[in-house]
Amino acid sequence: MSAASTAEAPAYVANTKVGRITDFVDERVGGSGILREFGRKVFPDHWSFMFGEVALYSFVILLMSGTFLTFFFDPSMAETHYNGSYTPLKNVEMSVAFSSSLDISFDVRGGLFMRQVHHWAALLFVASLGVHMLRVFFTGAFRKPREMNWVVGGVLLILAMAEGFTGYSLPDDLLSGNGLRIIDGVIKSIPVIGTYISFFLFGGEFPGTLIISRLYTLHILLVPALILLMIVLHLFMVVVHKHTQYPGPGRNDGNVVGYPLGPVYAAKAGGFFFIVFGVIALMAGFFTINPIWNYGPYDPSPVSAGTQPDWYIGFVDGALRLMPGVIGDFHFEYVIFGHVLTLNVLLPALVPAGIIFTVLFMYPWIERWITKDNREHHVLDRPRNAPTRTAIGVAGFTWYCVMWAAAGSDLIATHFHVALNDVTYWLRALFFLGPIIAFVVTKRVALALQRKDREIALHGRETGRIVRLPHGEFIEVHAPLDEYKRYKLVGFESPVPLPAVPNEHGVVTRKENRRAKLSQWFFEDRVAPATPAELEAGHGHHEAVEAGEAQKTLSH
């Protein structure tokens, strides 16, 4: 519709009053145009596409329950004597922050429920964010054009962790104080500037009297604002890029097959919000989380057994637990020009997290460089069809999980009746060997699954029906697949290694050689999808299939 024709045609007049008001507003804000555009956005349906939604809804629930909590929470570290209804803490000296957290738990109507909603939603927020990222990684959804959105997602993960940690510290109970003490130790282990940063952050020597109110400002203002900004950017890019889809008949890089947002998907998504809210509310109603009254007020002298951070910071805590203080006679602590360098805190606290996030942010570019793949991808990979990427992902995930498990080493020891020292030794070994084992096993499993797919595509599905032929031979009848199912098994890209290519000067650079080697490593083990010719052969009788088998193109 051109601008000229709209100007000339005020022909439409609504019949009802509501209609006329709506029309009035619409002519000025253009709502129907926006609605038409968004309402026609198509979303493919798959359960694994919904984790981002879970994270978004958890965040909305966090905003709502958090607002409630701010009405009653007082982030002051001034000393007071508790005078609420929880008798085991009666008259105990504590900070106002802890006292008001106890009041929320015991004296504000619905306060404990809201605290538990807030905390469970926080755990679920980070968990669903993590699972969403794993889905994106393993299906290759980070490829062009979505690399930037992958980075935004990574930033969101870091912000979520920061938001979680600042919130965990606010009640000023013994557990969170122990956690802050560890953070303080990590900050102080940074060479030269560490002590200055710590004194700046805490306004003097730990714990000081400022940290809770400072964390509160970060927790309710800065970090949530940044998260909101990143969510807007993230969703904006989702709309621009359109949603990815799993491979299937009729699906390609030029279309999206699914339901439009309005009305089907809007209804589903709206309903799903209430499902997530319901699940969180049930958890909050029936299961305790962070029972601060058990931990008591923070005081720098006591440290409770079983002191752990919330799960998403666990891997850093685990790395700290795994680090040996000395190895034989080798020490990790030095005094250089009067400055203490404690590598046994600095290394485990910063290096694994640094590696994880660096690789996470760079991975789309690393893979793009190796594969020289500059095309847009809107159809996802099944994880098995990208064996090396899947193996890298599982190796990284395993590494993370080893550190994660190490954060619970004391509980593994007590609950499985094994020695804490043995748990630590095993986890130290797995810290180095786990990722390698995981890589090899995952890659072999992925290749085996590809072979199985190929087998089924060529021979059809095993029916379990054994038939005896007139001459006495037994065969199992294989039922051929229908076209749609077969497409899924054969319709994928299977890149081959890209040899080194000379540049414009006819020189093969060292970098290019390295790339070619990596490409070889990436793609050398491959099971090619069954070709149409092979499929044709597969439809023949049994011997012909065997012949087709022999042509299987394994590159080595």
Binding site: L123, L124, A127, I289, G296, A305, A413
Partner: protein
Amino acid sequence: MKALSQKRRHPLAAIALLLMGLLLTGGLYAVATTVNEAKATTADFSASDTEEGGKLFAANCATCHGMGASGTKDGPSLVGVGAAAVDFQVGTGRMPMQMNGPQAYEKPAQFNDEQTRQLAAYVASLGPGPSIPAGELLDEKGNAAEGGELFRVNCAMCHNAAAAGGALTRGKFAPALTDVSGKHIYEAMVSGPQNMPVFNDANISPEGKRDIITFLKQIEANGSPGGADLGAIGPVSEGLFVWIAGLGVIIAFTIWLTSRTS
């Protein structure tokens, strides 16, 4: 008296005076203090208790602890551990020990109350040691808040702030303190069983111990105001729960929501 004043310049007079002073202060301290209260509690037990206990000991304990409880390489000497140690170890089933290991596990008691009493009488007769606490210390009517503070400062680093237990090195552990009688908690503090340190009456006064028991019993009776406590072991069980139950249920819903098309 004259002899005393005449010999006041004797070369050994200073040493004698010092000795007297030391003896006097030491003696006064021993009388005044209850720190190492040498309670020869045999008074609480009859001679026949001690005698029966000796027989039970020879039949059930002497293999490791030696005849006369003088100790072997498999078990320590029990001279001077007192009736409290026996009442705790035998009363909670930790002794006789199921097998040698880093630590004895709690199990159903192997002796009845009468036999436990007799064993305690026998061991108490061997040398002075902490006795079984009096009933008024176990009435659970102390100050729970004070007890909580004492517990967090002295006990929580091993037993966990919520008394849920925790790990120690090389297979040793601090057990959870739920379902433990006040008497046994008190005895554990004064006798330091397994890998636990002794908290004598100078570290924590008997009233402090009473407060701790009051605190432990009160938090146990309070239950968990926020719903199921997931083992009261903190963020690990909470994380496990959100990943398995929380996300698990949500994944089930996502599969249900998308089941029509896929």
